[in-house]
Assembly symmetry: C14
Homo-oligomer: 88 residues x 14
């Protein structure tokens, strides 16, 4: 197998697994935050505004973690900076 093939194959597989593993923690965290928000809503309906605001800021923070993984995966698939050493 040529060098380039190794690179292409392992990058592809690595990217697929990385995104699959990388959404695990954000997914669990979101599920936890949302379910707690729903419970808070049921217990203190009049605090809906504060609860919703805190929830959305929190979801944005968690989403940022998934975005980090997605960005690294897309860099690897579309613009891998290490590729230039291979093409030289």
């Amino acid at each position: 197998m040529s060098d380039m093939t190794w690179f292409v194959v392992l990058s592809t597989v690595g990217a697929a697994l990385a995104i699959a593993l990388g959404v695990v923690a954000p997914g669990i965290a979101m599920g936890r935050a949302i379910s707690q928000a729903l419970e808070a809503l049921a217990r203190q309906p009049e605090a809906e505004k504060a609860i919703t605001r805190t929830l959305f800021i929190g979801l944005a923070m968690i989403e940022s973690l998934a975005i980090y993984v997605l960005v690294v995966v897309l860099i690897i698939l579309f613009r891998n900076p290490l590729l230039e050493y291979l093409l030289r």
Copy 2:
């Protein structure tokens, strides 16, 4: 085995495993959010509107994580940008 075969085989297997693993966290998170929403509904039926709205926004956020994985998997199966280095 030729280079292209390696690429095709491992891409296929990697895509299948990635989507299978990638729905784990969203699935668990959805199950948690929905079950908590049902409990909230049973405890505070009059807050149904707020609960349902928060639940749906939350499910959309979680679904986005599964979509990230699906998109990467479909890119790998249909339009892998690294393929051009292999076909050169």
Copy 3:
């Protein structure tokens, strides 16, 4: 073993394992949602309509995750787009 054999064998095995793993999370999530709905029904029978509606929308969302996996598995078994590079 010829290239095509590798492809066929690993695609078959990969598809079987992917669908087997891919229903884990939806299954657990459904079990959780349904059991919570039953508890909610037992606690607040008069909210049956709201509970049932939320449950079914939730089950549909979870089912969509299993469908993603099934679709990728069927694409791999019946119409793998990467196959053309192998047949060339």
Copy 4:
């Protein structure tokens, strides 16, 4: 070992493991749903109709996941579409 032998052996083993793994999540989910239904029945006997109906719809949804796996396993054992590439 000939190509066909590899295919037959790995398909057989893969199918056996896939069905064995694939009933794990539905099994756990069913156990959870049924046990919760029984608890709901004990707490609110007069809501038996609503509980039973929700339970059966839920079991059908969960059973569908096991059916997905069974269908893929039977496709692999009896009518594998990839087999034609091997027999050519």
Copy 5:
């Protein structure tokens, strides 16, 4: 080792492991359902009929999962459809 030996050995081992793994989830689910039914009986003895009926339907549903595995295992041991490709 001849081709047929591989097939026979791996089919045998695969079948043994598949049935051993395949009863895990049904077993756990049954244990859960039965123990909950006993608790429900202790809490609400007068609902015995509804509890028992729901329990038996549930056990039948769970047993069906174990049967799926057993059927696939017996197909593999006694009438493997893929065997004809090996005997040709």
Copy 6:
């Protein structure tokens, strides 16, 4: 190592492990059901008849799972149908 040796050795080891793994789930399920029955007896001594009957039916259902495994193991040790292909 001759073909037959492979078959005999792996069948033996596979059978030993399969029965060892196959009693895990029934064992846990039985422990759960019995302990719950004892708790129910302590809480509702006058419902002893209904509890005992439900427990014994449940234990029989669970035992059936262990029997499935034992039967497959004994088939493999004493009357493996695939053996004829090996002796031909």
Copy 7:
């Protein structure tokens, strides 16, 4: 290594591991049942007879699982039916 050596060594090791693994589930189940029986005794001392009877029947059922494993292990060590194919 001769064929017979393989058979003897792997049978021995397999038997040792099988019995070691096979007592795990019965052990845990017994611990659970006994501890629950003790708790029931402490809560309802006057139901001692019913509790003890149910406990002993339960322990016998669980012990049967360990006996299955022990029987298969002893068959393998002392009277392996597959041995005749090896001695031919």
Copy 8:
């Protein structure tokens, strides 16, 4: 390495691991039963006789599981019946 060496080495290592693994479940079960007995004693001191009797019968049942493993291990170390096939 000669055949006999393989047999001796693997039997020794297998026996050591088997006894180490085989006391896991009895140990956990004993810990559970004893701790529950202590709790029962603290809650119902006047039922000490019934509690102690049930505990000791239970510990004997659990000890029997560890004895099964010890017996198989000692058979392997001192009087392995399969050894005669190796010495022939």
Copy 9:
């Protein structure tokens, strides 16, 4: 495969896996902190200011952990200081 190829491939795969694993703990920690903040809000709405301030400082501390991983990953992808030893 040339030295440089090894370096490029393993760096790429390592970076993808590192970022995927590195967001696990921060994700779980965020989910925990946010859900607890929501619960605190529901219990003590008038302490919203103190709760929100503590939450945001905490999220920043947790985010710093994810940033450490991201920085090391980007160093590896864009400016690996060890690369000079390879290019010499």
Copy 10:
């Protein structure tokens, strides 16, 4: 490596790991029994005699499990009965 070296090395390593693994379950069980005894003492100080007696008998039973492992390990290190077949 000579036969005897294999035997000595693997016996040594196996003995070390076996004793390390073999104290896991007794350790956990002792911790559980002792902590429960302390709790019982705090709840029912006047039952100290019965509690202490039951605890010590229990600890002796658990210690016996660790002794089984230690005995097998020492047999392997100092007086392995299988050694005679190796020295012949």
Copy 11:
């Protein structure tokens, strides 16, 4: 592959994995401390000063653990003292 390549590649991969694994425990610990602080704030708002001070000292202690890992990783990437033995 030359010696230096091995060193560079494994150092890079090792550093990436070490930082990814090294933030797990601090992340979980921080999540726990912060969520408990939030709960304490909700229960005892007037103790805000003491709670916040203890929290920040605690977070600094936990952060120090992550810093240890980061320092070792940066030493490996930028100033590995063992490198001189390799360059000699």
Copy 12:
């Protein structure tokens, strides 16, 4: 690698791992016993003498397990009885 080297290297590594694994269970058990003793002290300060005495006897029993491992490890490092077979 000479025989003696194998022996020395594996004994050293085995001893290091054995002591590292062997303190796991005693450590957890001690933590449990001590924390429960502290809780008992807080609930029943006047029973301090009985609690402390039981705790110390318990800690000694648990410590004995760690000593077993340490003794075997030191035997292996300093006075391995199997070494004589290697030096002959």
Copy 13:
């Protein structure tokens, strides 16, 4: 690969992994101690002095464990005593 390269590479990777794994337990322990201290503060604000003092002594004890690992890692990176045998 020369001997020295092996030594340098594996020492580097081992050190990185050791520090990453070695902070896991101290991190979790600190998180637990701090969160409990915060809860104690919220429940008994007037005992702040005793709580803080106990907490800091405890954190120092836990930190000592992380320091042990860090010291061994730094010894390996900067002053490995075994290195002299390699340089001879």
Copy 14:
């Protein structure tokens, strides 16, 4: 690779991993003991003296486990008694 290199490399890596694994249990145990002590302080401030004394004796016992590991690790790094057999 020469014999001595193997010895040095594996001793170094083994020592690093052993100390990293060996502090896990003491760390968790300390965290548990300290957090319980803090809770006891909050519940029974006037028993501070007894609590603190018991805690410190307990921490010393737990610390002894970590010291066992550290001692074995330092023996291996600085004064390995098996080294003399290698230098002969």
